[in-house]
């Protein structure tokens, strides 16, 4: 029997068709499920980026804790602040001292902490852990709870804020945005 003209019939035969449907179904289900599984990427050795150790979060500041003057970097103090280890007013005071000691005219420090991304500019309770310090005419001005959100929102709109996040002791993700440089007009 000459089977040359049978390919079309084979392809459109029922078993082959069911097989094709099965393969497509498996593909669609895997695509749908892939979002539920976190896939670890390969370890990429990093030698391309330089080191940036003059980041404001890595500056040493002193805060008195239980009557003892302690020195830590800003980031460590922020972790302590989140854990309730220090008072936010003491932290704010130490930041102000740092800005004053550097004596860079028209320099502004912005720190905004929150439980979601891009928390700068949020008002109310969300703004209670935000800091804005401006050094102008030889003096440091500290933003108030009222006007700080608006000011911070301005820096965020200009894309000046950098963001870092970490997990606190309870596993909650804490985000904070920061900037230290020339003030926005």
């Amino acid at each position: 029997m000459n089977k040359r003209g049978q390919l079309g019939k084979i392809i459109t035969s029922l078993p082959v068709l069911l097989l094709i449907i099965l393969v497509i179904a498996i593909y669609l289900i895997s695509v749908g499920l892939i979002g539920f599984f976190r896939m670890d990427g390969p370890d990429i050795p990093s030698v391309v980026e330089g080191i940036e150790l003059d980041n404001v979060l890595l500056r040493d500041i002193n805060i008195e804790v239980d009557g003892v003057d302690k020195s830590k970097i800003v980031f460590d103090w922020i972790v302590d602040l989140e854990g309730g280890g220090i008072d936010r007013y003491d932290f704010g005071r130490a930041l102000k001292e740092m800005v004053v000691s550097e004596k860079i005219e028209n320099n502004c420090l912005v720190i905004a902490k929150g439980e979601s991304r891009n928390s700068a500019g949020l008002t109310g309770a969300e703004a209670s852990d935000d800091y804005f310090i401006k050094f102008v005419d030889g003096e440091a001005f500290v933003g108030s709870l009222g006007n700080t959100p608006l000011i911070l929102g301005g820096y965020e709109s200009e894309g000046l804020l950098r963001q870092v996040s970490f997990n606190d002791d309870s596993g909650k993700r804490i985000y904070f945005q920061y900037y230290y440089g020339g003030c926005l007009e």
Binding site: L53, V164, N167
Partner: protein, 173 residues
């Protein structure tokens, strides 16, 4: 009258039905797609920023811990003493560095490997070399996880100190 044999039409009809189903599925996917590329991109960018920061953070912490170790161990020289000050041994430096690292550990997720490596002194060295002190850590793993995104990075670095504990330079290797 001869009845037409339609048995051979079943696969063809099925092909048509399956095509319709696939088209509807694709349309459904398009309709429910939220276009959230920006949101996904922001999350990835966030973990990348975290990892870049953690890298600098740990190098800075190594500088601080190394400096504090050297200052804490510096021999007190009596007045009138004439002679060379012996360099600190690796054993003394290791013990002091570990002690300081344990105190400074804030249990931040993503940087645990640094403290584990220091505790086990695995891939870590801190010794006197060429008139100063050199702290080296190899194959340090850091990571950041946010939602469905995770970035891991492995790097090695060196911090060089002078003989009184001042940082001379830090660099990745």
């Amino acid at each position: 009258m001869r009845v037409l044999n339609r048995k051979g039409d079943t696969p063809t009809i099925l092909l048509f039905v399956v095509t319709i189903v696939l088209v509807l599925a694709a349309l459904f996917y398009f309709a429910t797609f939220k276009g959230g590329f920006a949101e996904a991109s922001e999350s990835v960018s966030g973990v990348l920023n975290d990892v870049a920061f953690y890298q600098n953070y740990l190098i800075k912490q190594s500088e601080i811990m190394g400096k504090q170790s050297l200052e804490g161990l510096r021999t007190i020289v009596e007045d009138g003493f004439v002679g060379p000050v012996l360099p600190l041994s690796e054993e003394e430096l290791r013990k002091k560095f570990k002690e300081i690292a344990e105190r400074k550990n804030l249990n931040i997720m993503g940087v645990e490997n640094f403290y584990v490596k220091v505790r086990d002194w695995n891939g870590v060295s801190f010794k006197f070399e060429d008139g100063g002190y050199v702290f080296e850590m190899k194959n340090l793993l850091i990571y950041s996880i946010d939602g469905g995104n995770k970035i891991r990075r492995t790097f090695s670095f060196i911090v060089e100190f002078d003989d009184v504990g001042k940082v001379v330079k830090s660099y990745k290797i």
